[in-house]
Point group: C2
Chain length 330, copies 2
Amino acid sequence: MSKTVNITDIARLANVSVATVSNALKGKKNVSAATRERIIKIAASNHYQPSMAAQGLRTQHTKLIGMLVHDFQNVFSSTIAEDINRELHQRGYSLVVIANNSKRLLNASLFDGLIVFNYPASKQQLETIITASKLPTVLMASDSQLPNVVNVVTDNRSSVIQLSQLYEQTDHKKVCFFTNDADSYNSNSRWQTYHDYFLNKHQYDITSDTYNAHFRSEPARELALKLLQAQKYNFFYCLNDMMAYGVYQAAEELNLTIGQDISVVGFDNTQSHLAIFQPKLTTADPNMPLWSKMISDQLIDRIENQALMSNRTEYVPNQVISGSSVHLID
Amino acid sequence: MSKTVNITDIARLANVSVATVSNALKGKKNVSAATRERIIKIAASNHYQPSMAAQGLRTQHTKLIGMLVHDFQNVFSSTIAEDINRELHQRGYSLVVIANNSKRLLNASLFDGLIVFNYPASKQQLETIITASKLPTVLMASDSQLPNVVNVVTDNRSSVIQLSQLYEQTDHKKVCFFTNDADSYNSNSRWQTYHDYFLNKHQYDITSDTYNAHFRSEPARELALKLLQAQKYNFFYCLNDMMAYGVYQAAEELNLTIGQDISVVGFDNTQSHLAIFQPKLTTADPNMPLWSKMISDQLIDRIENQALMSNRTEYVPNQVISGSSVHLID
DNA sequence: TACCCAGGTACAGGTAAAAAG
DNA sequence: TCTTTTTACCTGTACCTGGGT
């Protein structure tokens, strides 16, 4: 393991001071063109790379953005990390993804900013972590009011309303709703909108037809199995796609045809390289590219321009994707 | 954004030198119990966290392991990152996942070690990156001979032989092989074993019945569609599961029943939260928990014990999972 | 006086080793 | 010997000084 070459080595090789090397490589203008050329050449041929630790220590920033995920596995089948990474990279930042059990890194002045994705801690716990980290932060599924936090969330409302309207175009009138735990932002915000819509438009309170399937497919499958066998419902509003998948499985087991015998809608347009909704699921697409861009922009604004430190919430417009999982009458 | 509290602040509050604070918090024994107690209490109540940059700069290590992935999406669809993360965390290291375009971090003395997962660069390019980084490295799909590299790879040979033997138990004798590009370690090593087996056991050279579907499902689907329509083959040896999925799709489009009309085997036991092989695919399971443990152990040995710097390759035993995707005769 | 270019120095926040009480 | 402090150091960057034109 040969010693890493540092700025002192380059200075010696170029017969200049370390300050001049630093100035030359950082593009400062108090260096003659000739000297700069020479230094750059020497640095390159010796594969010199400044130490992040030294740089970070001196400048107090690292150009590193941390993305905290609950665990690496379960996190996404979506492209979100990839999209955010691309946006940040374009702006000169690097994204690093860390899991739950590496929270210590958040308080170690390693990152310039923080993105929290799908983190299933309670809002309270999450806010403790963020406050301790003192980092400018973007939350992707929250309505936190912390001052250094921007919430960039999918605009649940408009899609839920569109999905609700399908109820008026089908003869499947026995509707139920599959939700997540009580502290889930997306579950709450979607459910509330469904609730208000059905109450106002149809004088119907959906509360007693709401079931918590934890945003996961297996609990949804079991629940749907029971409910379908009892013939209690024929329209399943699932507040995310995973649960819709559970309903698909249950239907298959009971030889029911989705879009014919029962209707199902999801949310999130969760895609997987393997796999698939057959027939195509009607769901809401969160517009990942735009979402990613808004996240990056908001976060970098916070980092580079402390003026904007007030809390805010940004809504990412999304769009309903029509499949054939709902039985429409004409 | 309040100033982060540093070791000097704690020293002042505790009326001791910074060295004593450092010693107390790091568990060094040259500090009295009373002083240590007091310092720990003060540090905790002020949420003091040492700066990684300063620590890393001084000690020349960070307890950070970088995992380089081609893109985030395909890593997170398996349990491997999560498994490795758990192992490393137990040993006092943190895993951070970075993508392709953050390679600059590898040369910045940020990581103590490097894990490369499924990185589709040529062996040559990969070795350049690793050499430049000067980091102890574990490769998960390679037979690189670099001195600071350990290859921890799935033991393709034993599984391939077991899968080959299915040929003798079926009446689907028209076999073909779906591979990846020429520089893929797993594709090559699996194919070579198939090739040798069929040549030795059946005096049959599989070369002209080999097709590159790039380890992806879509090319495999298209290829299979053509081959099935031509009725050229009825047994598809896919060198990974993605391509097997493509064959499943093609079969469904042509109303062929897997395990009945045609036989398919895969490799890797790729699981997805959504989705699924119907009927169950016969494939090889890589034993992720063991694989993860071997990776962590090997890497940490390299980092902490420079004595072991010679190159080596470790094989992770795996196991064939029998599904019903092969039509067996009794 | 002004600018150009280079070097000296303090410093970021810790830790290891030597010195001292 | 036991504690604690002093000093040097890790590797860069920001700022200031100063000679030359």
